[in-house]
Structure formats: structure tokens, C-alpha cells
Symmetry: C2
Subunit: 276 residues, 2 copies
């Protein structure tokens, strides 16, 4: 049975994404950072990794795009997870008892409106959401709460005091599943590509022509200036279909003629949205 | 003399961006959130606002793109600010005296590697970077430090104990200057556009053709799925030149034929990078 590596503590959103993709009983392993997840998968032929790649409020996780470029792994799947944050504490603790609230900095940022309404409560940044639930539970804190997922409340035996304390409920994170092997062929696939073109007028137009002329549908595009190389851009592109499709193979050949860099990051089944 | 509204406390990065753009002696006004900045500028014919729009590590600030779409303001300028974060405390306080470190959640996230190396120090989230410097200073805390800008240290009379505690030094934020009036014509302008096309194969290719066929250079492109409208996308586009250029006027007409929505957010001089 394969092991799935993710960044964070048990109960983290990445873990939920892993279980949504691989099933509830899958064997998972927490890692300290994204780089460790990539290294774990790179060193083994049998294991997987799962990483967040974009959030509907905060945009792309550029660090993980960089790691995808640096490692030779394949994207073999995706999961879109609705992010729901809850205020949780030890059984018996009421909101009025709380003097400190712990969570990951980004999660705290997402709950700004809720946190502002509280008086004389200290808001404390912690390594991750699940880790703060773990800390409140392990120290049996009667004066503290954590903001984390419902799964973290279950894992660490905490009670949810306020549900959905995030300011914006249109909060989704897309996770990618990584492997050393490519995904097998299946129906409804998409393909993620990174490419670079010289920034001359029409360069991107011509590059996109590779796909448009073959009626290949575009699902995502994002440009990113190359740091230290003015006027050079990286493009992240998601297209419909598999790199094994004959017209996509042709399109990629066409794209290579026009680009200074082309990397296919993987072809994989289009994922579903999971509500936790 | 116009007033420039920004989100945050005195000493915030947005304030630095405002002073870099309007000069050191410009009249500025802090606001609690981005919406208040937009409302302030919308209600007045003479004032300006400044907002962050994208960061080199964290991608686009989608909230501000949404506000740009909802309000009828014009982008009249941009500033790219190198974000540098420093650890600061009251004069006489040494690193070994510090028991708590305060800053904005995102800034704390950017200093994760530095913060992990510290032992028995509590990391506390605060509304903004400058606000935490203000708090440490006002309460004359001898056991606490803030992570904020050099400007915040100056404003609140704190000493910098460790410079550049951010993990990744390639940290730039691009700010936009907003006004009810359009920017006057000048050399080296760029134009920001939002448009939507139905996601049929080749739709974006055709839309970009409006610019490519007229040799108009593309500076940024980003797609964003429209929440609740599957298969519909918004595109944020920056192009070289002014909407008043004859070929750009034609390109925009051409784009409107192909799109369900086109909004020119403004034509403005291409900004410089400011190191603080």
C-alpha cells in the first residue's frame, strides 16, 4: 500500500485532500515542509505526495510551482477542497473563557472579521491549523481555542464552538497529487504545462495558437515574470485532454518550436470538489 | 493638496508605497480595510487611494481585483515595493529578553524560518505590521518585539535587532494608485483590462488576437474561474501602451466583439521598483 506525504500535522487540510483522493484508510505521512514532500516522493517509486497549488482567494502557491519545475515528478490527480474553518476548544470550555486563539497565520487572516469582534483575546500564530488544535488538546488548555478543520477537532477531541468563522465562504483550495510515475490513461483528463516565451509582441498569442488551432480547450493560464530576467515570462497552462492524445502531442511539438522552455507537469483526471 | 488613503496603520508598506509615489510630504490617511479605501476615493473627486494588487510570492490579491470591478475608479499609477521585514523592539531590549513577537499573519508566514529558530517565544498575530510596532512602542513592552518595516521602526521609535528576517528575499509587492479621474497621457504607459469570454476552444486565443494582430505587447495575464458560473472565466490583462493609442482603441473594439465583458481599469505610467 502506498504512503502519501503531505505538509502539516494530522488533521491538516492536505491530509483531508489526501483521504478524499486515496480513501479514508490510506497510509499518510506528515512532513514539515513542501520540499520534504517532494524529496520523499522523488526518492521512492511507490509513494505519493499531495500539495496545495492554488486558492480561490489568494491565488497560486508559487513556491509549489517552483518545486514542480525543480523536481521531475508527475501530477497524477487533483482535489478541490472547500476550506471551512471552525473555532474549537476543550470540552466544557465556552467562548467567554477563551483568552487566546491559535491557528496558522493564513487561516487567522481568513478569519479577520470574526477575530476583530472578540475582546481581550490574544490571537497567536502557530505552524499550522491542525498543529494548533493539537497544542490546545495536549496541554488541556481551558483558556484557549484553535481555528482549524472539523477533522482536526475529531482527531484531537475538541468541541466546535463556532462553525465557519472564515470571512469569505467562497474559499477553495486545489491540491495536486504527485508521483514518480505518470497517471494511467482515463476519461476526462487535463494536462498541466509550464512554458516560457521571449516577450515579443504576439509571442503568447502564437504559443496559444498551438492549442487553439487544434480546438484544445484552455482551463487556466497565468503569467509570471522571471525574477532577474526582465521581459521573460513563465506561463502556467492547464488544457483539457491528455498529453497522449494525438492532437495534444502535435500541439506540444508546435509549442516547443515557439518556446524557450516547455515542461509537461502531468496529465490526470479532472478532479471533483470535496466539501468536508 | 490631495489626500491618499491606504489600508493599515502609519508605517505600513502601503504608506511607503504612497510616499514613494506622491513624495515624502504627501498627505495620507489610514483606513481599516480595502473597501474603505475604495469608498473614500469614490466619494471624492480630488483624492487618491493606494492598494496592493500582487505579490511575487503569493500571487494576486483577488479581493482588490473584485473591488476594482465593483467600483468605477481608474488606475492612475503603480509602485513596485521590495518588501523587507525587520525584528524591532524598544531601545535597550535585546533578542534574549523577547518572549513574544507581534506582526501581521502574512508577515509572520514570510518569516517562518526565522521564527522557528527561536525558543520559548510566542508568535502573536496582529492586524498589521505597523500596528504591532505601534503596540510594542505604546505599551513600552520590554519583553516583546514586532516584525515590520524600517519605516515603522522610525515612526514608533523602535530599534531594529535583526534585519531582513523574511525567508525569501525575492519579495516584491505591486501597488496600484486609484483616482476618480483618468491619468494624463505620458510616455511608457501600460493599460489594465478585465474581460470575460465564454470558455469555448480558442476563445482566449481569439481575444488575444485583438492585441497580437496590432503588435501590442502583453505584460501580464491571469485567468480566474467565475465562482458559481462553471466554464466562465475572468481574465486580468496588462498591455503596453495607453487606451488612447489608436491601435489600442481598435484592439479594445475588437475585444468587445468577442467578449461578454470588457472593463478598462486604467492607463498609467509603468512604475519603478522602490527599495526601502
Amino acid at each position: 500500500m502506498p504512503t502519501i506525504a503531505y505538509q502539516g500535522e494530522p488533521g491538516a487540510f492536505s491530509e483531508q485532500a489526501a483521504r478524499a483522493f486515496f480513501g479514508k484508510k490510506s497510509k499518510i505521512r506528515p512532513k514539515r515542509n513542501f520540499k520534504d514532500v517532494f524529496n520523499f516522493v522523488s526518492k521512492s517509486g511507490a509513494h505519493y505526495g499531495i500539495i496545495p497549488i492554488e486558492n480561490s482567494l489568494f491565488g497560486s502557491v508559487h513556491e509549489n510551482y517552483d518545486l514542480l519545475l525543480r523536481h521531475k515528478l508527475n501530477i497524477v490527480g487533483e482535489v478541490k477542497l472547500r476550506i471551512q474553518l471552525h473555532l474549537m476548544a476543550m470540552p466544557g470550555v465556552a467562548v467567554r473563557n477563551i483568552r487566546a486563539i491559535y491557528s496558522h497565520p493564513q487561516a487567522l487572516g481568513q478569519c479577520e472579521l470574526f477575530l476583530r469582534k472578540l475582546n481581550s483575546v490574544e490571537v497567536v500564530a502557530h505552524d499550522d491549523t491542525a498543529g494548533s488544535a493539537k497544542m490546545v488538546s495536549e496541554h488541556k488548555r481551558k483558556d484557549a481555542a484553535a481555528i482549524a478543520s472539523a477533522q482536526a477537532a475529531r482527531v484531537y477531541g475538541l468541541r466546535i464552538l463556532r462553525r465557519n468563522v472564515e470571512s469569505n465562504h467562497r474559499n477553495y483550495t486545489r491540491f495536486l497529487v504527485l508521483s514518480k510515475k505518470k497517471a494511467p490513461a482515463s476519461a476526462h483528463m487535463k494536462t498541466s504545462i509550464v512554458f516560457a516565451v521571449r516577450n515579443i509582441p504576439g509571442a503568447l498569442f502564437k504559443a496559444l495558437g498551438s492549442f487553439a488551432l487544434r480546438e484544445i480547450n484552455l482551463l487556466k493560464i497565468e503569467s509570471r515574470p522571471l525574477v532577474g530576467k526582465p521581459w521573460q515570462y513563465l506561463f502556467y497552462l492547464d488544457i483539457e485532454g491528455s498529453e497522449r492524445d494525438r492532437h495534444t502531442t502535435q500541439a506540444l511539438k508546435h509549442l516547443k518550436e515557439l518556446s524557450t522552455l516547455v515542461r509537461v507537469l502531468g496529465s490526470y483526471p479532472i478532479g471533483n470538489t470535496v466539501h468536508t
